[in-house]
């Protein structure tokens, strides 16, 4: 196994994989088992002010399934910790004592200015390596907290500044994607003194509604709510936010990527997009800590294959290839290409091309094969999405030299 360590905001992480501040980082006992499997650090479950008692609704979570696929997303109403502060502090101390090489990040959320300061000092005393300021929980029942702070940029700056003035530890600001442009609050956090950004927290969503009782299916005794949605379904949003943050020159802060990573490939994508560490929760909810074994092994093999010496060498490698859409060279056009010798004749490509695509793909009903038309095809590629034959795919994109952009013909 390769050395997977990486330095992030001046702290060394044995692996870039972190348990994020969530139900999966609720106790030292569960975190310790995660460390043994390969997590390099933890953002410990967010501690809130002791003056506000957190009582969680029941049930707390709901899986979002798609066909036979379970847990492509999770809607949850978890808030900050509901354990006594004393217990959490003891747990953090125990972790630092027993896993001195692993990084423990103290995630905090004050419900008043003083609480931000007090919590920061408390977790610093407990021996954390970093602080993460939770400006992003999308469903706090406490007025003016969580995501509400993350959407009020001056508060992001103010609370970050309070913590900055309180201690010297590296500070991460954990931001919400539920804003128009995530780089704005990030710049405010930087002004307040943040050393890095964690992005993203869960996205506000509604997993479903009961068809008989008309209550959302995260049904808390007859009531539902819009709340945080996570898992593989939000990975594209997480990647987007990481890219925006990484490409923002004025920001220039290291990023902890978060949102839907489950496999080593997801993790590498986060690294390529500019994240230095990857946090996860839903993957652990779906599979348990064992997912990280595969992330470590897969990342190590990937580094061997590509000749990367350290994890840091992967960070941001995709950024030069990510542009505004206006930068595309539209003078070059292609079409979907079909390896008809391997076609099995299901005809799904024809259906979707007719009903949702360029209406270019014909159908030979005797032979049960599609009839491509390179000129009419406008390369939306939806035919390839539904083609069941792989290894290699039957339908691929091909460049067609001199082809003009296709335009759908008017009705005759």
């Amino acid at each position: 196994m390769r050395d997977l360590s990486i330095e992030f905001c001046g702290v060394k992480f044995p692996t870039p994989f972190l348990l994020s501040s969530s139900p999966v980082s609720n106790t030292a006992e569960m975190i310790a088992r995660g460390f043994e499997k390969g997590f390099g650090g933890v953002s410990y479950k967010t501690l809130g002010g002791e003056n506000t008692k957190i009582v969680h609704p029941s049930p707390r979570m709901r899986s979002y399934d798609y066909g036979g696929k379970k847990v492509i997303g999770v809607q949850n109403v978890e808030m900050t910790t509901d354990r006594p502060l004393k217990d959490n502090i003891n747990d953090i101390k125990w972790l630092k004592k027993n896993f001195p090489k692993h990084a423990v990040i103290g995630s905090i959320m004050g419900f008043s200015k003083n609480e931000w300061r007090d919590l920061a000092l408390t977790v610093e005393d407990a021996g954390v390596d970093m602080i993460e300021l939770n400006f992003s929980c999308p469903h706090m029942s406490v007025e003016g907290s969580g995501m509400k702070v993350g959407q009020a940029f001056e508060l992001v700056r103010e609370f970050t500044r309070i913590v900055r003035e309180t201690l010297k530890l590296p500070i991460l600001a954990k931001l919400t994607s539920n804003v128009t442009d995530i780089t704005e609050p990030a710049l405010y956090a930087k002004e307040g003194g943040a050393d890095g950004i964690t992005a993203i927290n869960t996205v506000r969503g509604l997993a479903g509604v009961g068809l008989d009782d008309f209550v959302p299916s995260l049904n808390v005794y007859g009531k539902g709510a819009i709340s945080g949605y996570s898992g593989p379904g939000i990975k594209p949003i997480g990647l987007k936010c990481v890219v925006e943050l990484a490409k923002k020159k004025e920001l220039g802060l290291p990023i902890s990527g978060c949102g839907g990573a489950e496999t080593w490939m997801d993790a590498v994508e986060y690294l390529l997009c500019g994240a230095s560490t990857i946090q996860m929760t839903t993957g652990v909810i779906r599979y348990g800590h064992r997912v990280v074994e595969d992330m470590c092994e897969g990342l190590s093999d990937y580094m061997d294959e590509k000749g990367f010496k350290g994890v840091k060498d992967i960070v941001g490698k995709a950024l030069p290839n990510i542009h505004e859409t206006s930068a595309f060279d539209v003078s070059r056009q292609g079409a979907a290409s079909y390896d008809l010798d391997r076609c099995i004749g299901c005809g799904q490509c024809h259906i979707v091309c007719q009903d949702a695509g360029g209406q270019s793909l014909g159908w030979d009903s005797k032979k049960r094969r599609p009839i491509p038309d390179d000129e009419k095809c406008y390369s939306c590629m939806i035919c390839s999405f539904v083609c069941p034959v792989g290894d290699p795919p039957v339908i691929t994109f091909k460049d067609i030299k001199g082809k003009k952009p296709s335009i759908a013909a008017p009705i005759r």
Binding site: G68, D294, E297, G298, D391
Partner: protein, 450 residues
């Protein structure tokens, strides 16, 4: 590897080994896996293969890791995936059987091993040389598994094989349509890549030949000699022309004069005596060689048939007629060659035993079948030369090599044995398990001897 997709279980030639999964198919199948805690499939493998882990790795797209999990544990992971009766082992224990059909673990394992070959990924690492030379007698599954495990530990291993090519029963006992030569060669290449020297055409024979290896600089010897001597049936007509054994027949189909073997059965009715998987293999081979009617005459009832269900189902799908609970009394001849068999239906005298001595003829059920060739498939026994090859090593009453079950040490110091030669007829995966176990004991022995 240019395999064919076998439609409706139909055998079209001797060589159409079934196609394996593609990546897409493997991922779809892995998606069905329940990823059980303390996976029952993993506890069911005699050779400690861990499907629970390699399927999870595949599911989480850690493909190289999945190949590593298989091959580090079992150097013959590909071959086992192909020949193992998984339905009686890992797949039988699959939790998914409670709600659906089991996960096709065998095909997933085969896919991963072939995927590793395809991308040129070899996960096996070798420890630095420890200076100890070890000899392995026989290149069947037990011998190869032992050799690979010893080589990984840093031993200098030489395998002595009497046949022209390595593999033992894998090459000469299993028909190509189940496991072909290319596949076997490719997996043995992984053994050779660990530095194991395989010397083919080098039989260890003559008085004390095994023990003499210890005097020739080898610090230990592992004997995996298999069961090369087919049992014969003592009935009238057994010495007629066109009467052969399944062992000889399958070997000839793999490596002998294929035209001659084809002539033996082509357009003829063939009677196969036996109801085990080897009988089914012989029957399938007959069908692939264009035999007319093929009968498998078994003493057992269909429920008791020793053949694995997949094997006899494939036989039935290919038109082979299984005659259960029958006994052949005589092979009839014409002009010195087999012309048919005469037999009778039987019942058991007492329930619970499938021994021939427990079978009782049922009067009035006598039958005769026309058959131009007869193949005896009632099992095989150990090499009758074992006693001479290693006079200091104790054999059992059946002529098997007597070993300590925990260590697989024989009665002679430094000589270990495993696989069919020590345990009697068993699965390939049991032989692999023995090879690994013996290697562990040999490493311990070598350390003690220093």
């Amino acid at each position: 590897m240019g395999k064919t997709l076998r439609k409706n279980n139909q055998l079209t030639s001797l060589f159409d080994m079934e196609e394996g999964y593609s990546l897409t198919q493997a991922v779809a199948e892995a998606d069905r896996c329940l990823l059980c805690h303390d996976a029952p499939c993993s506890a069911a493998c005699p050779a400690e293969t861990d499907p629970g882990k390699f399927i999870r790795k595949l599911r989480l797209r850690n493909l190289k890791g999945a190949v590593r999990t298989i091959k580090e544990n079992n150097i013959l992971g590909g071959i086992c995936a192909v020949v193992c009766p998984a339905g009686r082992l890992c797949e039988e224990k699959c939790s998914s059987t409670e709600i659906d059909r089991p996960i096709n673990i065998g095909k997933l394992q085969r896919f991963l091993v072939e995927y590793g070959w395809q991308i040129g990924f070899n996960p096996l690492l070798k420890k630095p040389a420890n200076g100890a030379k070890v000899a392995v007698v026989g290149s069947g599954p037990a011998g190869l598994a032992c050799a690979a495990a010893l080589s990984k530990e840093g031993c200098e291993v030489t395998v002595f094989e009497s046949a022209r090519k390595p593999g033992g029963v894998l090459r000469y006992g299993v028909p190509s349509f189940r496991l072909d030569g290319d596949f076997t060669d490719r997996e043995i290449k992984d053994v050779a890549a660990l530095g194991v020297k395989i010397e083919c055409g080098s039989p260890v024979k003559g008085r004390g030949a095994v023990e003499n290896l210890l005097k020739k600089g080898f610090k230990a010897v592992f004997v995996g000699a298999g069961l090369p001597a087919p049992y014969k049936l003592n009935i009238p007509g057994i010495n007629l022309k066109n009467v052969t054994t399944a062992t000889d027949f399958l070997k000839a189909a793999r490596a002998g004069n294929r035209e001659k073997i084809s002539r033996l059965v082509k357009n003829k009715n063939v009677a196969i005596i036996g109801g085990g998987s080897v009988a089914m293999d012989a029957a399938g081979t007959c069908k692939a060689l264009k035999a007319a009617k093929v009968y498998c005459i078994a003493l057992e009832s269909m429920r008791e048939l020793p053949a694995y269900k997949d094997d006899w189902l494939m036989a039935v799908d290919n038109g082979i007629i299984i005659k259960p609970q029958c006994r052949v009394r005589e092979i009839t001849g014409k002009g010195g060659a087999a012309a048919g068999v005469k037999g009778v239906e039987t019942v058991w005298k007492k329930p619970g035993s499938c021994l021939p001595s427990n079978a009782k003829d049922v009067p009035g059920t006598e039958f005769s079948l026309a058959a131009g060739a007869v193949i005896i498939a009632i099992g095989s026994g150990p090499d009758r030369g074992l006693a001479e090859m290693m006079p200091k090593v104790k054999l059992t009453g059946r002529g098997l090599i007597q070993v300590d079950k925990k260590t697989l040490a024989t009665s002679a110091k430094g000589i270990y044995a495993g696989g069919d030669a020590a345990r009697g007829p068993a699965l390939v995966v049991d032989s692999v398990a023995d090879g690994k176990k013996a290697a562990g004991s040999i490493i311990g022995f070598l350390k003690g001897a220093k």
